[in-house]
């Protein structure tokens, strides 16, 4: 092994050679940049305006001695408004848009995948083929037609927009399909012999088998929708979410913005996804996988 130091870690061995040192340094530098950005955001959200004006890099000091350490957060909650919608309103919009969209998207994918994986019926293979084709078709520029369709249906600027998530196909469909395929049919047959109907088999026998994956996919979809800004900007112009609201706010107030208060609003935006990630990171990092697209 020459000069290389060999470290044994569980059953997988790791050779700490020159390439690993380089990669470790790259990883460390990358981590430092991400952490720096987040710490910078958090520290500046506690600064007073004079502190911000003096230095962008120093740590906040005045907030500890002032009467209210969370004054910027209170101001953000009360003062940041877009077209009359404040942070509480944006938060509500973000919540229904994210939770509703994630629930509808995951639920209908689960239902579609279940019947396609476990039942033989006319059109079953067609649905699976459509799911594959839909994923590999490189469609460019159907945005105008989609926008026109949603406008014609009158579901823009309305929670009814969430129905667009009920297509039941896509990546989540394939994940659920693989999972239901992996569950033995014996469970279904045993339940049917005991007198359970189709719905009872689904809700009491099959659903519990995929619940962990369902929760993981829900959280991933929720975070994706929470962070989405293009969709709400286009389809929910009168109902800004936190992501679109703060973006518009920054653009509109670029020369006269109280940055510490704005940063406090930004922290409110990132708080929920970060808390969810902190709680479910293990689940998210281990439960997600994709297979091939043959078919």
């Amino acid at each position: 092994m020459g000069k290389e130091k060999r470290i044994r870690l569980k059953s997988r061995s790791f050779t700490f050679g020159a390439s690993s040192v380089v990669v470790f340094i790259v990883f460390a530098v990358y981590t430092a940049t991400v952490l720096y950005a987040l710490i910078w955001l958090l520290s500046n959200s506690f600064k007073t305006v004079p502190e911000w004006d003096v230095s962008k890099f120093s740590l906040p000091k005045d907030f500890l001695t002032s009467g209210s350490p969370f004054a910027n957060y209170v101001s953000a909650w009360k003062e940041l408004t877009i077209d009359g919608v404040g942070v509480p309103g944006m938060l509500i919009n973000s919540l229904w848009y994210s939770a509703g969209g994630a629930f509808i998207g995951v639920w209908f994918c689960c239902m579609t995948a279940y019947v396609v994986a476990k039942y033989r019926f006319v059109g079953r293979n067609l649905i699976f083929s459509v799911a594959i084709v839909q994923m590999v078709l490189p469609i460019v520029g159907n945005l105008p037609a989609m926008y026109k369709m949603l406008n014609d249906l009158g579901i823009t600027n309305s929670p009814l927009l969430l129905i667009t998530n009920a297509g039941g196909l896509g990546g989540n469909f394939l994940i659920f399909y693989a999972m239901f395929k992996g569950v033995s049919d014996h469970y279904m047959e045993a339940a049917r012999i005991d007198g359970a109907g189709h719905f009872a088999v689904f809700f009491h026998v099959m659903m519990p088998q995929v619940r962990p994956a369902m929760i993981t996919l829900f959280i991933i979809s929720f975070i994706g929708s929470w962070n989405d800004y293009m969709g709400p900007l286009l389809y929910l112009e009168d109902m800004p979410t936190l992501a679109t609201g703060l973006m518009v706010f920054e653009k509109n107030m670029i020369y006269d913005v109280n940055y510490p208060v704005f940063f406090a609003g930004v922290v409110i935006l990132v708080l929920l996804p970060l808390v969810l990630f902190a709680i479910f990171s293990d689940r998210m990092m281990t439960n997600v996988s994709i297979g091939g697209l043959k078919g």
Partner: protein, 301 residues
Amino acid sequence: MEKPKKRINKNVVSKYVFVLSFLIVPIICFCVFYLAVNINSILLAFKVPAGEKWYYNFQYFLDVSSTVLPIFSSYLPNTLKFFAVECVLLLVSFVFSYFIYKKIPGYRFFRVMFFLPSVICATVLVMLYKKMIAVDGIVMVIYKMLTHAEAAPELLANSSTAMTVIMTYMLWVGFGPKILLIGGAMARLPEDVMEYGKLEGVGPIRELFTIILPMIWPTMSTMIIMIMTGIFTATGPILLFTEGAYNTTTLSYYIWTMVYGASSGSYPLASAVGLFFTCIGLPIVLIVRYICNRVDKGVSY
């Protein structure tokens, strides 16, 4: 003889009622929001207004290839640059995942840190990134210290550097999902195969490309196909960075600007641009998919 037949029919009917109850909403949504939308998109691409009537012809396609010159001189090259970033991200993520799989010290922490940007809204990340590279940001402070320059350059407000800045941002935030998927595939590899390779004296590079790659090929090929599917839709968050200024417009952003805040009169041209590039992209994706399937050695474990 009658009773069993009736029971079978009743079972079949109840089965189909159940299946239909589960599929009816997804089928309607698929027909309305996928089939109808895409059919409308195709029709829209040929729809030319003439007074109060509409005609269908190829006028917009002639516009795409002749009058809308920025598409080929600027928007398409920019789009392909972002596509190249996606390819680089996949390759680097594959190598990084290997080191995480081999449990480099602190691998759990690094894996979380790579995924962290995927959890944070792009609006926030772009804002933070812009603050870091601003003339008074940390990157420029370090730049001035190292080069002893008196003034820091405005990287985003410059046509020659703006694209590079946005592409660097894409590299900064883009590893997470790829490392997650590739790492997930590697984590499921059987340990004894790796041990056997080690006993045979297989080095890290050979292990990565001749043992691991074929075994996780279904995951890799899916990711390659997904990236190829986005060949003409690849884009960075142009809206958040420059709103298309400083020669940063991509095809996706161009189509977006034809819809957001624009009149419906611009929809047909946007649809024609989309259809034009869909027609070019389709054979490319099919060829790549065919090659990916041919390369697949069907390793099972």
